[in-house]
């Protein structure tokens, strides 16, 4: 009998060691082996991830990523974890995540079903809806006010798709201009090439805050879409790493610190120019923080 227990104990012990060895796969194993984690940042995704005046990446998503790094460090019981920073663009973020250069992409990447075929996302850190910015002098506030006007949006975004759909559905006869990026699109409103610019409201807020005359612009109340989730991107199918990231972000969002980090980037002056985006936390965002979720479905956040 004693022997049997011993055997049982040995088997259990064998399983236990095997189990702990199994835990370390994928990203976690790589981080343990190399003693380093690589964060992908964007250079101009204000206020999520961008370069400050010292060329150091800062932002809301960066703060969250450093929390995940802390959690990884604790999980792997490391004394020291080197954080490598790697710039990414919308064109490079997928290859760099896929080939293992970048472990976490911290920016303003929309979490949607198509993208989930390719990558994983941790809990949603921000919700944004498609709205439009225009000059206050133009007095546009409803979508229907755009009838017959030239309206710009960034090519290759879901926003331009929503604009196209609304235009067709309501028969507004809008002249839709595709722009190559947000800066160009905003410039087109600034220089009166276009009457309005349709984009994620938070990006519009940061573009307007950075304009020569921030008070000259108004963002519409009317939205083209339900709020869409932004998530921090990681490799698909790496459940162990995702679990650590999910736990870390959930703990952050549900604690008072989550709201504090939000306020730091959205309702206070942010570097490098001391702009204030003035976007207080709305009901959807409050709910997304209270009940952290990695769902790509906008309805999950209503």
């Amino acid at each position: 009998m004693k022997r049997l227990f011993l055997l049982g104990g040995m088997i259990a012990a064998a399983f236990a060691t095997q189990a702990s060895a199994q835990e370390l796969t994928g990203t976690l194993k790589k981080i343990k082996d190399t003693g380093a984690i690589t964060i992908g940042f964007r250079d101009s995704s204000v206020p999520f991830s961008y370069l400050d005046d010292n060329q150091k990446p800062v932002g809301f998503a960066m703060d969250i990523c450093y929390k995940i790094v802390d959690a990884v460090k604790k999980e792997l019981k490391l004394d020291k974890l080197e954080v490598k920073l790697n710039p990414v663009t919308s064109a490079t973020r997928i290859p760099l995540i896929a080939n293992g250069t970048v472990d976490l992409e911290c920016g303003s990447t929309t979490n949607n079903v198509d993208r989930q075929k390719q990558v994983g996302f941790t809990n949603t850190h921000f919700l944004t809806a498609s709205r439009f910015v225009s000059k206050k002098t133009a007095k546009l506030d409803k979508i229907d006010d755009l009838k017959g006007k030239s309206v710009v949006s960034t090519s290759g975004t879901t926003n331009i798709k929503q604009l196209t759909e609304v235009n067709a559905a309501r028969n507004l006869g809008i002249n839709i201009i595709p722009a190559k990026d947000h800066a160009e699109a905003f410039l087109m409103v600034e220089t009166d090439r276009a009457a309005a610019f349709v984009m994620d409201d938070i990006l519009l807020a940061s573009l307007a805050a950075g304009a020569r005359d921030p008070n000259a612009y108004a963002i519409s109340k009317d939205a083209f879409s339900k709020p869409e989730p932004y998530g921090i991107m990681l490799r698909k199918g790496d459940d162990a790493f995702k679990k650590v990231a999910d736990a870390a972000t959930a703990a952050l969002y549900t604690s008072p610190e989550g709201a504090k980090i939000y306020e730091k980037w959205f309702t206070q002056k942010i570097p490098p120019k001391g702009l204030n985006l003035n976007v207080p936390m709305g009901p959807e965002q409050t709910k997304a923080f209270a009940k952290p979720s990695d769902s790509a479905d906008p309805d999950a956040y209503l």
Partner: protein, 243 residues
Amino acid sequence: MNYNWNWGIFWDQTPDATGTYFASLMSGLQVTILLALVAWIIAFVLGSVIGIMRTLPSRWPVMIGNAYIELFRNIPLLVQLFIWFFVVPELLPGEFGAWVKQLRNGPFIAAMLGLGFYMSSRVAGQVTAGINALPKGQRMAGTAIGLTTWQTYRYILLPLAYRIIFPPLTSEFLNTIKNTAPALTIGVLELTAQARSMQEFSFQVFEAFTAAAGIYLLLSAVVTIGMRMIEKRLVIPGFNVGK
């Protein structure tokens, strides 16, 4: 690598519901070809004029031609496109400027002008070189039989010069096709722009850019083969300096 290959993606619908990804790449290809052709016409005509000016006997046309080449050849194409698209309309007088800015095909027109002028400086260089490569006697012979300068160019120098520079002009035309890609930075939805928007929507970045690369290669192959055929027909026996 942890990447989910999906070569069937080209037959999926794009989220903006305008058709499949393949169709959007093809529409990009159309814009690329159209832009390359129009820009090439501008480049060829203007380049020829400037190139010929630089071989004229008097001083002023030579200086103007040289200045033109230095100006358009030495500023990066990207910068020139930005100047045409963003700066030039601001310099135009009020109403006219606003009208230009609101043109529906504004980006295309700016890209066409920018690329055309940029390539024209290169074509001009080739044309000058072609004319200068001819033996001096050709020009003198023209004058000797009583032809005017214009006639000498029209009947003697240019027909020979263009035959000599035909191969380098082919490569300039290929450059024009490749140089349509920066036009995406001012909002022309050409092939590279469509590949980019495809990867933004679907996250299938490798498939998108592999397809774009393949299409560019195919397009260049078609042009090269076509130009080779024309080249053969243009040869004057015993007069092809390059060969």
